[in-house]
């Protein structure tokens, strides 16, 4: 008896056992806690007679949205799509603009010119110390204080601002724009290859091969060919997509369930194999720590849970979504619709210039005395869009400028001096020595600023800009499903943020010092 007890005691004193026990207790506790809270939430909702359901995604909300893809959404899903696209519109253009202005401001802060430096510094101090919401409301107030659109404003203008928003001349997309964009991406890739090829030649043969000139002229020539109809060549992709779409239409939902399950199984297999392989050779050969076992087991468990979920109602829902079941969500996000959308956008028979430069137009509305900015030609920005965009861009640009300044200053002076002593020109010095090192320092904090910008777009709700939070709020007010809308928000913002940070991380890895 005593022996047995001491054995049990020894068992519980074993470090390995303890480690495992702690891990499992922690995991179990966490899962229990989450389930407990979910149960409480669902129970409370049931008590207040609100059943948790996703049905509202398919129902017609019956409200209109100020701007975006669907101004008269036919389903809750379309309504949320519109909000998401509006949010992404600000995020993507905002990141480009904030990076541009931020870089200029950062360089201005380093300028030797007294006025330039002080102007940039004072702008920084003002913007940095005022809450973003106040700034957005300020820009709204600024626009609203402009005069109203009047009769004598009617006509074509280069630029106009009034209390109805801002209108400017703009190269408007024509039918062939999407095809041209794709064509242009391919052209960029080709000219990049040309550049690399010429650099390789230079390194091998030691003669001046003018790589930049070569790649630029390739791009210009390809651009010219594309602009005057050459872009139609990508119609081939549309042609193929049409076939893929037709092929996908006959696939049943079970196919996707199986496909995703197999994918999950395969990924977990790869992950486990990788962990085993990493211990195949060297000092640690065959020595797996408890952590390693734990990781492997968790990977397998996750894969099993995922596969199980794939055949539960949620998996069937995902499959229906991918099949493009019109009835489920009235969506056109299914895979067949996706490919048929591509085949429609990349149509061989589209002709004409891809873009057309137009003046902004102020026009009469119907039979009344009201005036508005044309949404057909030129570009018109609503007050909400303008205020939100300007707010997040300036706010983020200020922080980016500090990052740029810090990045450039962090490159040690010895590097520039060494470059100068090699006889490099100032421009080459900046391009070849200072900037590559500065960017390496700047990239991680830049990524954080991009994430901030993406999340700050939700402040658009304060100025009536219909981004995803504002739209979602309207939706749950009409349909009463608060929790599902919150879940969708969380998933959406996580997806956007994770996508952004993985892009930044990709470049970060690429620029990392290669250690040998």
């Amino acid at each position: 008896m005593v022996k047995l007890l001491s054995k049990i005691g020894a068992f519980f004193r074993n470090v390995v056992v303890l480690k495992w026990a702690v891990q499992f207790i922690f995991l179990g506790g966490l899962i229990a806690l989450i389930f407990n809270y979910l149960n409480i939430a669902v129970g409370n909702l049931a008590n207040t007679n609100i059943a948790f359901s996703w049905g509202f995604l398919g129902e017609t909300p019956g409200v209109s949205i100020a701007e975006g893809l669907y101004t008269l959404p036919k389903s809750g899903l379309q309504m949320l799509q519109t909000g998401m696209l509006n949010m992404l519109r600000i995020t993507v253009t905002g990141i480009v603009a904030a990076t541009f202005f931020g870089t200029i401001l950062g360089i201005a802060r380093l300028s030797n010119n007294y006025i330039v430096e002080k102007t940039a510094t004072s702008l920084l101090e003002v913007v940095r110390n005022v809450p973003l919401l106040v700034q957005i409301l300020f820009f709204q107030a600024l626009i609203l204080s402009l005069p109203r659109l009047e009769v004598y404003d009617v006509g074509s203008v280069l630029f106009h601002a009034s209390s109805k928003g801002v209108a400017l001349s703009w190269p408007n997309r024509q039918d062939g724009a999407w095809m041209f964009m794709l064509y242009f991406l391919i052209a960029l890739y080709i000219s990049n290859r040309v550049y690399k090829q010429r650099v390789k030649l230079l390194e091998e043969q030691g003669r001046e091969t003018k790589p930049f000139l070569w790649s630029l002229s390739t791009l210009v020539i390809l651009f010219a060919i594309g602009w005057y109809g050459g872009y139609r060549i990508v119609g081939i992709i549309g042609f193929v997509s049409g076939f893929i779409s037709q092929g996908l239409e006959v696939l049943p939902g079970i196919f996707y369930q199986v496909l995703l399950s197999v994918l999950a199984g395969y990924l977990s297999f790869i992950s486990v194999r990788k962990q085993i392989n990493s211990k195949r050779s060297g000092e640690l050969q065959g020595k797996y720590s408890d952590d390693d076992y734990f990781k492997m087991i968790i990977t397998i468990v996750i894969a099993i849970v995922f596969i199980a979920l794939m055949f539960a109602p949620i998996g069937q829902g995902i499959a229906k979504f991918l099949v493009g079941d019109e009835l489920t969500f009235k969506s056109d996000w299914g895979l067949p619709q996706f490919f048929s959308g591509i085949s429609n956008a990349l149509d061989w028979s589209i002709t004409g210039a891809p873009y057309e430069l137009n003046m902004a137009e102020i026009e009469q509305v119907g039979t009344t005395k009201f005036k508005k900015y044309s949404t057909e030609v030129g570009k018109s920005l609503t007050v909400g869009y303008f205020a939100t965009w300007l707010g997040v861009v300036i706010y983020t640009a200020i922080f980016i400028s500090e990052i740029v300044r810090a990045g450039i200053m962090a490159v040690s002076k010895g590097q520039s001096e060494a470059g100068l002593s090699l006889g490099l020109r100032r421009s080459s010095l900046l391009r070849l020595i200072v900037l590559p090192q500065a960017v390496r320092i700047m990239l991680p904090p830049m990524g954080n600023q991009y994430l901030n910008l993406a999340k700050n777009t939700s402040l658009g709700i304060a100025v009536g800009f219909p981004e995803v939070v504002a739209v979602g709020q309207t939706l749950y007010n009409q349909e009463g499903q608060t929790l599902p809308v919150f879940l969708i928000w969380m998933i959406f913002f996580s997806t956007v943020s994770l996508t952004l940070s993985s892009i930044v991380n990709y470049y970060n890895r690429k620029l990392k010092i290669v250690e040998r």
Partner: protein
Amino acid sequence: MNKKAIVFLLVFAMVIVACGDTTEEVAVEATEEEHDHEDESTLEQVQERGFLKCGVSTGATGFTEVGDDGSYSGFDVDYCYAVAAAIFGDYSKVEFKQLTSAERFTALSAGEIDVLIRNTTWTQSRDTELGNDFGPTTYYDGQQLMGRVADGLSNSSTVADIDGLRVCTNAGTTTEKNITERVGLAGGTIQLITVEAFSEAIDKFIAGECDIVTTDGSGLVGRRAVNDALNDWVIFPTSPISKEPLGPTYRSNDSQWADIINWTVYATIIADEYGVTKANVDSADLEANPELGRLFGANDGELQTKMGLDAKAYYNVIKQVGNYDEIFSRNLNPLGLFREGGDNDRWADGGLIYAPPAR
């Protein structure tokens, strides 16, 4: 070194286990407490707390107004006072909670407030999907539009005239749905800008970002009066584009609480029918009018005590707050809203304000 690691792990494990236990216990206790709370009826909760939590608007002229000294007044506010008077015999035992239209139903279902009296329209979906029940309608309203005379609008303008215009309204209301539906039926399209509070919509209308602003007629009339634009702004169409019955809202499945709210409203209407006002309630002839006698608790007030209230509950309502006509005239007449000949007139005079008999 190894021993240290083991000791550390042991301590760590104990901490984790201890933490895990306590959190779960706390969670369980919390749920139990919540269940205790849920078993209590709303009336018991309110009486225990000692005051009523009433959800009102963030600002609707004539319905909810906050004075410079922080005092509340208005049509909806008076009904909050009336409910407090019925429960406590003291109308001042109310804590007001200002809610935007987007927040109100969440606040009600989460128990932040006991009753929502915030010009809330009774609709089928709100009644069934949101876990609410609606009390008797206190004000029959209808959605209308407001534009500028200078823009060529007049009383006779219709929904068809606003095709292509930019319209502002506040989020989370029935107005968004109504205007979308009506403009769609008229074959037009509008650009609908929704903002958090109606005052923001008015700001945008004044600045010219929006051509038209829309909400319940009473709200528009109030705003027009406040901004002193009686001749510059015009409200149309004459017959509202929607039915907006406004009244108190409470959580469903608590019929005792529902009865208290409903009969507080009915008491003010019945008192008005008999012409009993704040001033003459003490001299009312309860012998000659047995219905009033029952309502004011003359003969032991059995009906009120069965509801869980004081026998004199509705006497207190009239004594301290007044009858329907008084509440209406006090708050809405200054804005130019009158009962005579409208939907909110007494039923005997062709209106819709009607109460079931008290017996």
